[in-house]
């Protein structure tokens, strides 16, 4: 990637911050995509099947919906994030204790399923889709938003019972992964265009804050920086590798930072 044009794109992406509220979401997403050009990640899934992708995209879109505040989990690439997590070490319990026996135990004893997260998703999605087919005559992703919320509420609280995996267990995993995917560094495939960080005002990779920490109550309106921004040299860094954050004024949409 050519360095100056990448840097220009990074600076231009500033427009997506303060301006989020004034754009309808699809426009915002399309514009952000255009700004980042070739940086839009590949969408080839490694573990989830296409129907499973449809389920996960539909579910995370309800857990963190797109609205006037900005993109939701679906737009932020959370389904793709989850796929990559499932395919990797976490999805196969690489650092977890896996020996049996496997009684269910008490809630205080935590994760006791013999299923890996990979299997929890495969089985959980299958069973929830079967429930939806029976209840609504359609798979989860084809339901209305209100019906989808009804199903998710049924899983969260255990009102809808699944057979091979406890519904609350599956739901908690899905919700935890959705939050991770929305807020983790974009290097993992989620938090696309730093949508999660922009929503809450988190600057991502930290700068040196020595001069700011005592500025009590003063908003720190920084353009968030990702690991990739630094690796690709689109964000400027100091001698220790900390990015030099670009600060915006309180109501500054950053247009002056563009080229």
């Amino acid at each position: 990637m050519e360095k100056t044009s990448a840097r220009r794109r990074f600076l231009k992406s500033v427009t997506a911050i303060g301006g989020a509220a004034s754009f309808p979401v699809p426009t915002l997403a399309a514009e952000a995509h255009a700004q980042h050009g070739v940086r839009a990640p590949s969408q080839t899934y490694m573990y989830l099947t296409q129907p499973e992708v449809a389920f996960v995209e539909a579910a995370v879109a309800r857990l963190i919906p797109a609205d006037e505040l900005g993109p939701g989990a679906k737009e932020a690439g959370v389904a793709y994030f989850i796929d990559r997590q499932l395919f990797g070490g976490w999805g196969t319990m690489a650092k977890m204790y896996r020996q049996g026996p496997w009684p269910e135990g008490t809630p205080q004893q935590g994760y006791q399923s013999p299923l890996t997260p990979q299997q929890v998703y495969r089985i959980g999605i299958g069973e929830v889709n079967a429930h939806c087919a029976k209840q609504y005559g359609n798979s989860f992703s084809a339901l209305t938003a209100a019906q989808q919320d009804e199903v998710l509420r049924g899983l969260d609280g255990g009102k809808i019972e699944l057979e091979a995996v406890r519904s609350q267990f599956f739901f908690n995993m899905l919700l935890a992964n959705t939050l991770e995917g929305f807020f983790a560094d974009p290097i993992y495939g989620g938090n696309r265009d730093k949508a999660g960080w922009k929503l809450v005002g988190f600057p991502g990779v930290a700068a040196v804050y020595t001069a700011h920490v005592e500025q009590h109550g003063v908003p720190y309106n920084a353009v968030p920086v990702s690991i990739q921004d630094i690796v690709e040299s689109v964000a400027e860094v100091d001698e220790h590798g900390h990015p030099k954050h670009i600060l915006l004024g309180r109501n500054d949409r950053g247009s002056s930072h563009g080229d």
């Binding site: 205080q108 004893q109 935590g110 929503l199 005002g201 920490v213 109550g217 690991i227």
Partner: protein, 587 residues
């Protein structure tokens, strides 16, 4: 078939906070020392290099620096009537793995315990009588006093360059510091960190209420400092990737920044990583250690003969190695006899989260130990008459690092997901902060560690089994302390508060603190302690068991300062004497 290696004077199991200081001091005095570490070598460069050091998912969510449970974990149950099941993923606590141990990813809060903490039982009986202690409470005195430990605390603070403000200099109360601390011989080596907004508001409110706030002592330090070993710890830049992370600046004092640069130059020290110690080998009589057996990363088994063995692993693994090796009599809670596994304790953390509509806190600008604290409600600093509990904890408004996967508070009653949740998290991520309470935990007859009858580690050895729950003492204490904290919070004037005392059954799931204690406790009586005041096993005197495993119960502070001072540094003189005698060399 084990390969027998050339004998050494000292074999150290675990090269973390305590293992590094023991190795450095003993090797320098001329003893041949081998450090056996089951994890790998880690250092500021390249392991904590930018920008990868600032990856929350990797270090917090996926526990990059922490114990690999696929190989070894513990089993857990709330009480002996239940069947213990394995902790399959990390939750409540996060032990480290690799050189530096958990002191790589620690938060850096560096406290001294109160003089009272070392004499919990006798001072409670003296002030309140027997009725104040629960019948099954086994909390006891340490067999060592604060005054005896003061110079070791002092040494730790000066070795690690700790930032703070003295509150009691040789008995004289100093404004701005903690007036409740035991007398200290001198000021902290580096001044306190800068003040964040949360701490400033807490300080103002606490002072108005008549309390005496002070800056939390921190191992992420305020300015560059060079210690007696010639190691330089840099100045903290408040990046907020501190607790659970390695520091890219070398600004968080740790074995890597404070000790290893010197230790690795010691000619008499050899570090062996990927060396998983399976047991301490004893002589035929079972009263003397002759070395340790370990397995390396290629599956080769080695027998390392040694004149002396120091168990410097994490609390839980220290106790497990004693049990696997037959060092000391295992604790039997039914008969209340035996000593190994006795007095396992933990901590009772609770919090009040304050939410505001219009104030911005930038809590992501942070250091693990950045904050303002009060100590009015710790130990026996307040009258417990009629309260029905003993102990307490410090309160602090900390800015220890707000990263949105783990830290995104919303007011109670907010849905866990959906549009309403999204609105709340967008509003409050940057408009909230917690007041945290580091509540103490007493020891009880039914809380203990032993070997699990069912589950095994990757080498086929039994896992350690933890039986633990907090008692009425802890729940009452938490309710009372958290209410006091809520009064301070209210005075600060938030629009909403989440007041969260700790009153439910202990659960292994959400993170609470990596402050496990006990199981190989120190004391003056071999019938009620596993090790003496010098952490020397009563049963096998050339084995020393170093670390928080020696705490008879847990205080209302982060334990690291006390781990290093009370359990490591304070036994070195004794070790020097013994080593010289045992090896007969004097080198």
């Amino acid at each position: 078939m084990a390969t027998k290696l050339k004998p050494v004077d000292v074999a150290i199991v675990g090269v973390g906070l305590t293992g590094t200081i023991m190795a450095k001091e003993l090797a320098e005095s001329g003893l041949k020392v081998v450090g056996l570490e089951r994890g790998h070598w880690r250092d500021t460069d390249p392991d904590f290099a930018m920008p990868y050091a600032h990856d929350e998912l990797r270090f917090v969510g996926r526990h990059e620096l922490m114990q690999d449970l696929s190989r070894e974990t513990i089993t857990f149950r709330n009480n002996a009537a239940e069947t213990a099941l394995p902790m399959r993923q990390l939750g409540s606590f996060r032990p480290g793995e690799g050189v530096g141990g958990a002191a790589v990813h620690w938060g850096g809060l560096t406290w001294r315990f109160l003089p009272w903490d070392f004499e919990t039982r006798s001072r409670t009986l003296a002030r309140y009588g027997k009725g104040q202690l629960a019948e099954d409470c086994t909390s006891q005195d340490w067999g060592v006093s604060y005054d005896e430990l003061e110079r070791h605390y002092d040494r730790f603070e000066y070795l690690y360059g700790i930032s703070g403000k003295a509150g009691n200099l040789k008995g004289e109360i100093v404004p701005g510091g903690n007036p409740f601390e035991g007398p200290r011989s001198r000021e902290y080596p580096t001044p306190p960190l800068k003040s964040a907004y949360a701490g400033a508001l807490f300080k103002e409110a606490a002072e108005k209420m008549g309390y005496q706030p002070f800056p939390t002592p921190s191992a992420a330090i305020s300015r560059a400092y060079t210690n007696e070993y010639g190691a330089t710890i840099n100045a903290c830049v408040y990046c907020g990737y501190c607790q659970f992370f390695g520091c890219e600046m070398g600004a968080k004092a740790s074995p890597q920044t404070a000790v290893l640069p010197n230790l690795m130059k010691q000619k008499n020290f050899e570090l062996r990583t990927h060396a998983n110690v399976a047991r301490v080998n004893l002589d035929a009589a079972g009263t003397r250690a002759i070395g340790v057996t370990y397995v390396d990363s290629r599956g080769r088994e080695f027998e390392q003969p040694a004149e002396m063995v120091l168990l410097c692993s994490y609390v839980l693994n220290n106790v497990r190695l004693m049990l696997l090796s037959g060092i000391g009599k295992p604790y039997d809670p039914a008969a209340n006899t035996g000593v190994v596994g006795r007095n396992y304790a933990y901590q009772t953390p609770s919090s009040v989260t304050l939410f505001f509509e219009d104030r911005i806190f930038n809590q992501f600008m942070a250091a693990g130990g950045l904050g303002m604290a009060i100590d009015e409600f710790n130990g026996d600093n307040f009258d417990h008459s009629g309260l029905g509990f003993i102990g307490g904890g410090f309160f602090s408004a900390a800015s220890s690092g707000a990263r949105p996967i783990e830290v995104r508070p919303v007011p109670r009653g907010t849905p866990r997901w959906g549009a309403q949740w999204k609105q709340a998290v967008a509003t409050y991520f940057n408009r909230s902060f917690p007041i945290s309470i580091q509540g103490a935990c007493q020891s009880y007859r039914g809380n203990y560690l032993d070997l699990d009858p069912t589950y095994r580690d990757a080498y086929g050895l039994p896992l350690l089994r933890m039986t633990f729950d907090r008692r009425a003492n802890e729940h009452k204490m938490s309710l009372w302390l958290t209410d006091k904290a809520a009064q301070i919070a209210k005075a600060i004037g938030p629009s909403k508060m989440n007041v969260t005392p700790r009153t439910e059954k202990y659960t292994i799931v959400p993170y609470q603190s990596t402050h496990n204690t006990g199981g190989a406790i120190m004391g003056a009586d071999p019938a009620s302690s596993a090790v003496n005041r010098y952490l020397q096993s009563w049963a096998v005197p050339n084995v020393f068991v170093v670390g928080a495993s020696a705490f008879p119960q847990n205080g209302g502070y982060n334990p690291t300062g006390t781990v290093w001072s009370a359990t490591a540094d304070s036994i070195l003189e004794k070790l020097h004497r013994l080593c010289t005698r045992i090896s007969g060399t004097g080198h």
